[in-house]
Amino acid sequence: MNQAIQFAYLFSAVLLIVGMQNLASPKTAPRGNLIAATGMAVAIIATLLMNQVVSYTVILAGVVVGSAIGAMLATRIQMTAMPQMVALLNGFGGGASALVASAELLNYMRAGEEPVGIVPLAIAMGVLIGGLTFTGSLVAFGKLQELVRGAAVVYPGQQIVNGLLGLITLVACGMVVMSPLDIAPYYVMLGLSLLMGVLLVIPIGGADMPVVISLLNSYSGIAAAATGFVLGNAGLVISGSLVGASGIILTKIMCDAMNRSLTNVLFGAFGAVEAGGGPAGAVETRTAKGYTPEDAAVIFSNSRSCIVIPGYGMAVAQAQHAVAELAETLEAKGISVKFAIHPVAGRMPGHMNVLLAEADVPYEGLVEMDEINPEFPETDVALVIGANDVVNPDARTDKGSPIYGMPILDCDRAQHVFVIKRSMNPGFAGVQNPLFFNDNTMMIFGDAKGVVLKLVESVKDLA
């Protein structure tokens, strides 16, 4: 029987990998998700059939409760809130792994049997990484849901405190590995890992969340892989490492898109609360020109091509449907419309794509940064909706700027640039954006959704 279960795990791992492979194209992706879900079902059924599983009541109760909560979350969540949702799911995954590793350790203690080989280390890693992922994800969730302040929270000596606590955590980990049957080091390690999760995420600001979520995603996978080592279960090891790898790749893509190292994102406290006031001496004397949606409509009507640059502001204003309507209206007038998607636009990888897909914008019109940048000089109108740092020309030219070197969308090179923004407040990075003061830039102040809807109306009226 157990031999058959081993084969079932292999089959499950193959299905999970094939499922992920199918995510390579939007056409095959829904099937891929289904294949992966089947793989998961195979692994669960195989486990239920194992000899050591004799009581099903607790399992059934847990599955019923978990399914109800999971299904409710998945069906009710708004697409704009997807970053929070993923953060929350990461947390549950990490928490589950920490609990499994803890349960195994307790079993060893109760039996008075010393775990051997790699098992003690795997238990320590499962508790440590899982616990850290759990609380870290909850803090990220709180920030994204705006339950707690989104900006970076810093205090004097923060790095030193974190460093010391990290060191103590590692020592506790070492003691758990050395003498796994002692309960005290376990408690210390558990408590500190939960604390570290909180402390490591609070100094990270809102716009750096894409990196944090990707990294926590990776951790939740690694924690699952660690429990695989604890249980000697190959299926867990394979699936966990797949997720770990996925998170690492996304983390790297996000860091590259900001031209910052992972260390800088995690410990740089970018956009910190206390940093306020902006760069010394750089008092802005120029004034940005404010225009109305009606003014913009005239220029739109006389143009032939338009590139829309959506940012987090579009998500906050829930403006994706209005934006899709604008694109449709313009296209009906023979104006070509494309969307330029910066990798870190929004609060998680791919955030803008999902929102626009929800509003029925065909995905062929969503173009990646490197592909669209050469098109700006030949474009009549660039429309920036709630994006700021990703269109800041200082990133190209001003060596002194905190965002120097970050790859940006070159929308300033278009004939006309419209920027829809609530106010002149600087973006997340706390730096002023010279784009707003360019001769070819026209600001339209207001809520993204309201402005875009008025723009749609005005363009239609001109017909």
Binding site: G70, L89, R110, L242
Partner: protein, 96 residues
């Protein structure tokens, strides 16, 4: 079942390479569904949770196992469902 640590580590390392290969082919367009989908997969830890709570005796481990099952199931069910919902939006419009 994986008594040999070297064998387990081998699987771990090779699986990470497979992961790098497979994931790097996913376009940025689908990065959000990729995250939620891989999230669901990290709920595989439910296997461990089942093993921890399916024993005959009722101990603290069973309690931990129960909570672990709830957490992991939220992860699995929520992750796959929300991914499916999102991917449905990327379907081509019939009119387009």
């Amino acid at each position: 079942m994986l008594d040999n640590p070297a064998a387990a580590l081998t699987i771990f390392v090779l699986a990470i390479f497979v992961g790098f290969e497979v994931i790097s082919k996913v376009p940025p367009l689908l990065h959000t569904p990729l995250m939620s989908g891989s999230n669901a997969i990290s709920g595989i830890t439910i296997v461990g949770a089942i093993l921890a709570s399916g024993t005959e005796e009722r101990t603290l481990s069973t309690v931990l196992g129960f909570v672990a099952i709830v957490f992991a199931t939220i992860n699995v069910v929520g992750g796959f469902l929300v991914t499916d919902r999102m991917l449905g939006m990327f379907k081509k419009k019939p009119s387009a």
